[in-house]
Every structure is written in C-alpha cells, then in structure tokens.
Amino acid sequence: MIARLIWIETRRNVARWLVPVILLVAWWMLSARGWIPILWSSTNDLLQESVIPFAVPALAGAAAWMAGRERRRGTQDLLATTPAAPLSRSLSTWASTAIWGIVACTIFAAVMMSWTALVAAWGGPELPSFLSMLTSILAFSAWGYAIGVLAPSRFTAPAVAVGAFGVVLYLTNYMSEVSSSEAGSVYQETWITYLAPDKTRVESAHWHALLYFGLAGAALAVLALSYRRRVPAAMFLIGSLVVAGTGAGMIRHEWIHNHNAVIVPPGGPPPALEPAEEQAPPVQVCEGDPVTVCVHPKYEPLLDDAVAATNRLAEPLSGLPDVPQRAGPHAVHFTGGATRSIFELGQNASLDVSNFASHLVADESIITDAVITNPAQIAMRSWLLQRADIDSHWRCDNPRFRSWETPGMPTSAGMTTRETCAATAHFAALTSAEQRAWLEANYVDLRAGRLTLEDLPPNS
C-alpha cells in the first residue's frame, strides 16, 4: 500500500515542475563555472557545485508546501477517517518529493558523467560524492517537510526555501578569524565550511552521507513526534542525532588531520606519506614528430592540437642545432575553466604551448621560473608566436598586453616592450630566406643569451 501511495503522490507532486527548472539552473551554473568535460576532476567537483545551490532549497521549499496540502485543501478530517496511519501518508508525500529531487540530480549526473566518459582519457567518477549529494537532498527535503507540518502557513514554503538557501550559502562562505592586526584580519575556512553539501570531497563523502542521513532521520523523527508516537520517535530522534553527530565529528576530525598535515611544518618539507598512501605518478602520454609533446594522460584529448601548435612553432627552426625536440609539462600547460558565454560548454580548454616558445629561444639553464628576460629572446619569441598564430600574452599584436600604450598598466619581467616589439616587426618584415640565414648564423648565440636587441636584423 505504501508503494501505491508513493506512486500516487509522485504523480501529483508539485516538485515535478521543479525538475526542468533544476536542470536548467544547474546547466547554466555549470556553464558559468567553466565545466571542462574532458576532465573527471572538473566533472566531479562541478556536479555538486552546480546542482546543490538551487536543488536543495527548491526541494526543501517544495516539501514544505506539500506538507501543508491537507490543511490547504481542507481534507484533514476526511483523511483522518481513513484506515491508513497519518505518518505513512506523510512519509509517502515526503518520499515522493525527494524522489523528484533525486530524479533531477540523477539525470544531471548521468548527462555529465556520460559526456565525460565519452571524451575523458584518464580518471573516473566519484560516486561516493554523488551519493552524498543525494543524501543532502533527502535531509533538506525532510526538514522542509517537517517544518511544513509543524508550521503550516502560506509563508512557510518560501521561508524554508530561503532558509535552506541561506544555510548552504552561509556554510560555504563560513570562515573564522585566524589572526588580527592593524593591517586587518586574516580569515580562513574551517571544518564548518566542509559541512556544506556542495563541499564534499571524496575522502570524506561517506561521513557526509552519514551526517545527512542522520539529519534526514532526525527530521522524520520530529515528524513522527508530531503524530504522537512519542517513545519510538524519541528513540529514533536520539539515534539519528548520534549518527549525524558522528558524521559531523568525523568530518571535523579529518579536516583537522589533513589541515595540520599541511600547515604544521612551516617552511619545511611536506609530510611523508605512508607507504599505502603513496601513489605512482601516471605515465605521461607522448605524441608528435619532429617535436614530441608529453603531458599527463588526462590531457590526452587535447594532445593533437598541442602537437600541431608546437610543430608550427618549431617549423622555422628545423635543422638548426640544439632545437628542443620534446615539450614536456614544463613547456606545455593546461588552461581552461574561464566563462566564455552562457551555455557554452567544453570550448574553453586547451594546452598552452607559449612556454615552449620560450624554450625554443632560450636555453633551459637561463629560464628562471618560466621567465626569460633577454630582450632579443623576448623579441624572437614574439615573432615565433605570431608566425605560428598561437594565442599568447607575449605576442606584440595583442593589444591587451601592450603596456607601453596604456598609462598605468603594470609591467612584469619577461613581457614585451616597445623596443622588443619594434625588433619583432623588423624581423617579421624580412624575407623567409633572410630570416633563415640570420637564424642559421645566430641561433646558438640567441639561445645562450649572448645577443642584444642591436644584434637583431636589420641592425646586425
């Protein structure tokens, strides 16, 4: 009978109208946060950060609204004469509301994970985090329902929705003051921040699940108490609170353990991992000829473009002595995640090969923190990047980084200047034969840092 009740309630539940809204809002938030489908890490993190902030308050509000239905429709007396226990009616109404939330989250997770499974080359889904997310839906909807039963009013549903939204927002942004001085106070996240349902990490996902299961149980026990099942409900309430407290306590314990492991040795080496925790670094994937690009296997879907870009960069230098033939992680790095536009997904990830241009014009021994400071090398790097049409802030034709044209714009070491860009323009104006001849005569000195701007054509 319970199953039939749940089926009837599910078909007639107002939360079904929220499913498309939850999906649309989550999709939009995914876009705004810059989802990168090729990375499982991005999928796992953004799944909860996109769904939770709206789904949790929406379902809590819907549950509070559903809780007042019998009173609103004036059917309390009629239903009181039926043989079914009022608690089972209430539980089926709450369950059907939560089911629609779980359906929305599952649809969204299925789309995200399927997409990533098709295009990702490394990693996997974090199912414990997903399950923890579902338990938070259960807990918030259960409390919404319980509040709706205890305080039925037209104001209850919006108040519960705003309250749930506020709880998530407050937990996520909770910080405590760690030091105070005249210059100002310093705040940092605490373990309370990690109680937020959208801050679940896979290491503590099972404790999150325990916390929210306990909270859901406590809400249902409060509901049962209102139906006069005093003793069993009170026992269930105590048990649920113990479970929730255990979950919260373990989250706190893990946070303190991990936090101290990171910050206790100031300036010292990172703490040694236990043998069981040691993980061998994944074998890099390499591709390309004559220049070979080697990256972490998770970036494999982007490798073809990176190989093409690095070979375009190295093309004018082919056959010259000591030209780097391998671009490793120090020369090629991942960029992505920035918002481009609403609903545009997966278009903002790439491997940036600008650093490889630095390695082409400067020997590794004179590159400090990925920065070259020799003006002749800077000028030639700009030429290589412009010639290969690689998007970079080191190009002279990038107006956003022509600092000498914008008063007040800060400059930093290794950036182009008016003089280096003039030299780049002069070199670009030469014929291919003249460029090749100059490179054959000066490339070794250029890489060694022995040239100045005056040594570049047409001055040389």
Partner: protein, 208 residues
Amino acid sequence: MSTSIVESNHRARVIYLYLVARRAVLAALAIFTSGGLIWILLAQSLSPNAIHALVVAAPLLPALVIGVSVWSPFGEVEQIAGRPLWPIRLIHCGGLFLCAVAALEIIGLVEPAVSRTQLLRNLAGYTGLAWIGTRVAGPAFTPIFVWVLPITYVALIWAVDGHRWWTWAKQPAAVESATAIAVLLLATGLTLMLRTPRSSRMNGGDVA
C-alpha cells in the same frame, strides 16, 4: 450620517477586508521578524565573505514574504466588483514594501558596517522579481513558485565570478546601473501587480 462619511467608512472597510484576506498584518510581522533574524546573523558574522553573502541573500526573506502575501482566495470575486482595485493593491504592496524598507533601515542603523544602500537595492530588485514571478507562475502556483525566480537569480549570480551588468545584486552600492536595474525590476513588478490580468484560471484563488 452624510453620504461621504458612509462612503469613507465603506472604503476603509473594503481596504481592511482586502488586507485581512492577504494576511497583511501577519506579513508585516514576518517582515520585521525576518529583519531581526538578518540582524542576528549579521551580528554573528565575522568574515567579509559571510557578511557579503548575507547582504546579497538576506533581503530575499522580506521580499518573498511580500511576494507570498499577494495571494488571496477571493481574487475572481473581487475582480467583478465595481470599485477599481489598483489603489487598494498599491496600499497593500506599497505598505508591505515600506515595512521591509523600515526593517532594513533599522539594521543599517545598528550595523554601520553593512551598506544600507545595498540591502535596500537588493530588497527592491528581489521584490520586483517576486512580483514578476507571481504573475508569471499564475495564481495556482504563486505561494510555491513565487520564490523560484529570486532564489534562482541569486543562485545564478553566486556562480559567476566578476561583475556583469546582470549581477547587480552582487555589485557595490556605488554602482548606479545596479541600482537602476533593481528599481526597474521593482517598477515592473509593481506595474504587473497593479493591473488586473485579462484572464485568470478558475482555481479558487488569485493574486493581488
């Protein structure tokens, strides 16, 4: 008793009944209670992040109370009356909005670190969104979906880094375009609330 006194008493009684049907007194109490809650939360908040989150999100509470208050079970019956309803709606909506302004003004006075302009701007914008949502959702769904539009909006802007024209609720108080958008939303919402919809569903309720 002169006709004007009778008419005056009659008008006052209509307004009184209209406000009672909308739980206006309860709504006003809820608005001031939410103001007290916001003040407690602000007083307990230490970090700038938490204060900023509250300034952005807290005005949702009084705004949604105003939004929910416009629902009434007697909408269709009232619409066939000979008396124009927009002045009474203006008294109802405007009165509750002024209550919320007063509640947030008091918070601004006792918590000088909080920008009153930001609180009031966000209240205006969210109230406008709640009223627009009320009209869009229709009378059957007003009490359940009146909060969907404002909460969706705040959830969306929270996900976006940086300032864009539509993230007005997150922007500093000095940004005039943000204030203009909030006022425009309030005016649009109020206009929608004051006019009588051409048709309403036969569902035993209506808004405004």
